[in-house]
Symmetry: C2
Subunit: 354 residues, 2 copies
Amino acid sequence: MLSEAVKNLVPYTAGEQPQDRSYIKLNTNENPYPPPESIKKLLGSLDTERLKFYPDPLCSRLREKLGSLHGLPPERVFVSNGSDEVLSFCFYAFFDRNRGSVLFPAVTYSFYPVYCSFYNLPYIPALLNPDFSVSIDRFLQEAANSSGLIFPNPNAPTGILLEPDKIESLLSRFPQDKAVIIDEAYIDFGGKSALPLLDRFPNLVIVRTFSKGMSLAGLRIGYALGSKEAVNALFTVKDSFNSYPLDYISQEIACHACDQAEYFRKMNAEVANTRTIFTENLVKTGWQVLPSQANFVFARKPGISGRDLYLKLKERGILVRHFNKETIDQFVRITIGTPADMDIFLHTVSRFLN
Amino acid sequence: MLSEAVKNLVPYTAGEQPQDRSYIKLNTNENPYPPPESIKKLLGSLDTERLKFYPDPLCSRLREKLGSLHGLPPERVFVSNGSDEVLSFCFYAFFDRNRGSVLFPAVTYSFYPVYCSFYNLPYIPALLNPDFSVSIDRFLQEAANSSGLIFPNPNAPTGILLEPDKIESLLSRFPQDKAVIIDEAYIDFGGKSALPLLDRFPNLVIVRTFSKGMSLAGLRIGYALGSKEAVNALFTVKDSFNSYPLDYISQEIACHACDQAEYFRKMNAEVANTRTIFTENLVKTGWQVLPSQANFVFARKPGISGRDLYLKLKERGILVRHFNKETIDQFVRITIGTPADMDIFLHTVSRFLN
C-alpha cells in the first residue's frame, strides 16, 4: 500500500536526541545558554482559553517584528515551523527539474539532498576548495545547468564563512532568474549576513532560524527574507500543505524573543569567545580545526578516525557529530558549549589521546 | 525564478480568521468551550531553559499516551504538526500516480484536491448519494482505478456519518493493497470511530486532531493510527521533510490533554446537545438541515442563496462558511457554538429572513 516515492526516500538522520540529560550534548548545535527568563513570565500570562481558536495563519505580528528587526516590510518576511520546513518550501517554490539541477556544495547540510529526493529534483554537488571553503567558481561553472543555488553561510558542518564581498561577486554573476538561497542558520556567531544585498538581488532569499542564535530549538520557528514575489510563493506552498504551521504559543514567544536582541547578542558573543579559546586549545594539542564563524567547530586529530573519536567521546558521556562521508570522515563536528563543557571535552580527550 | 509547480498551485482557502474577536465565529469548527484550565498551571510550571534543546523528534511520550488512550502500542501512532500535515504526509506515503488516482467524495474537505495538486496526483471525485451521504458503491466502482481512498467521517462539510457497519463492508470489499484513510477530525461529537476495525484491516489509517474535540486548534497537533508499516512510512516522510515538527511545549500540553478525556467527553456532549436543539429550531423555521454527527451543521434556507446568507450574517457580526461550489452553493456550514451563540444566530436570521 506504500507509494514508490516513499519507498525510495532515504530520510535525513538528525543528531541523536537522548532524552536522558546526563550527556554533555555537543552534537546538534544547540545554544548552551537558555533563552531569556522572561519567557517564563510570558508563558504564565498567556490566555489559554485562546487555544480553542486557530492561530493567526499569516503570523502577522511576528512578521512585523522580524521585519522591523531587519529593516524590511512584513510582506518580505515568511515564517514557518522551523527553518527545515522553510527550506523544504523553498525547494518546492524555487527549484524546477525542467529548468536544471539544484546546486549546492558537495559538503554541506545533509538535508539538502534529502529534500531533492523528497521532491524528485536532480542535484549537482559542487566541490569545495582544498581548504574546505565553498567555491564560487564551481557555482558559476554549473549555474547554467542549475535551476538555482542553495548554501549555508557559514557552511555546515565546516563552519567556514563566505565573506559578503564574495557573495556579492557571486550574485552579480549568477543568472538573475534563478534563486540563490542562503541558509543563515549559523549567522549569529560572528558571521556577516547577506541581508544588505537583498534589495539589489531579487533572486536572493535568506533563511533564518530561532533555534541557534535565539536558544529556541525547542520551539520550531524559522523564517525567510526575500522579495515580495518570493515570499508570496512560499505562502502559496504553505497554504497547499498546511494552513496553520505555527501555533499560538510559539508565535507569542517568538514575538517576545524579537524584543530581546541585546540579550542574544551578548549570549552569542560569549559563544564566539568560547569558540576562540577552545580552538586555540585544540590547535595547541595537535588538532586541525577549520576556521569557524559558527557555534561549532569541525576538527580532526591526526592518528584517530572521526568515528573512533565520536565513539570514545560517547562512551565517556560526550556527544559530538560524525558524518560517515568521504573527504570528511576524519572529522567530528563539535558544538560550542559553555566554557566548562569545553574544559571537560579537552580533559576527556587528553585521557585517551596521545 | 519560480518553479512551474508553484505557479500551478491553487492553495487551500481556510475560513477567515479575523484577529478582531468581536465576531461570533461559527466558520472554522472550533470548539466553543475552552481547553481545561489546568493547562494554565502546566504552562507556568514548564522548564523554559529546556527550550534551548530540540524537542523529542519521535514524540515518544505523547505517542505512548495516545496509544494507551486507543489501546494501541506507540509504534502504531504517528504524531505531527496538525492533522493537515498528517494528511499531507499520508498523500505522499500512500498514494501513487502510477498505481491510479486518489479517490475521495465529490463533496468533501476541500484540502484533498489541493494535496493532489501539491504532489501532482490525479484524483477521482466520487459522487455522493442524493441525500448527500457518501456512496460506498461509487468508491467500490472506482477502486480499481485508484491508488487508494480518503474520506472524512463524519464527512465535511455535510456532517453526515458513515456508520461502522458500512465502513466494515467497504473495507472488506476494497483492495487490501490500497490504503483507506479515514479522517476522523469530527468523530468526537457523537460519531462512531473505525478504530475497532484497525486490527482486521492493515490498509486502514485513521487520522485525528486535537483541534476540534480537544479545543486545541491554537496548538497544532494531529495524529494517525495504523499498522506499524504505515506509521513507519509516515515517519520516513516526516524525516525527509522536517525532523522536528512538534515543539516541546505543544508536546507537553498534548500529553496533559490526553489525561483529561472525561473533561472533553462532557464538553463534546454539550456541543452535541446544542446541535440537536439548534437543528430542531432551524427545521421549525423552514430550513433544510443535513443530519450531522459533527460540531457543525450544513443547512440551507429555501429562498435565499448560501452566499447571501453568508454575507448578511457577516454584516451582522456572525461568521459562517460558504463554499462556492455547484451542488452545495445553496448551503452554509454553521459551527455549533455555545447555546447563547446559537440563540443569537436564530434571532439574527429571524430579523432578515421571511
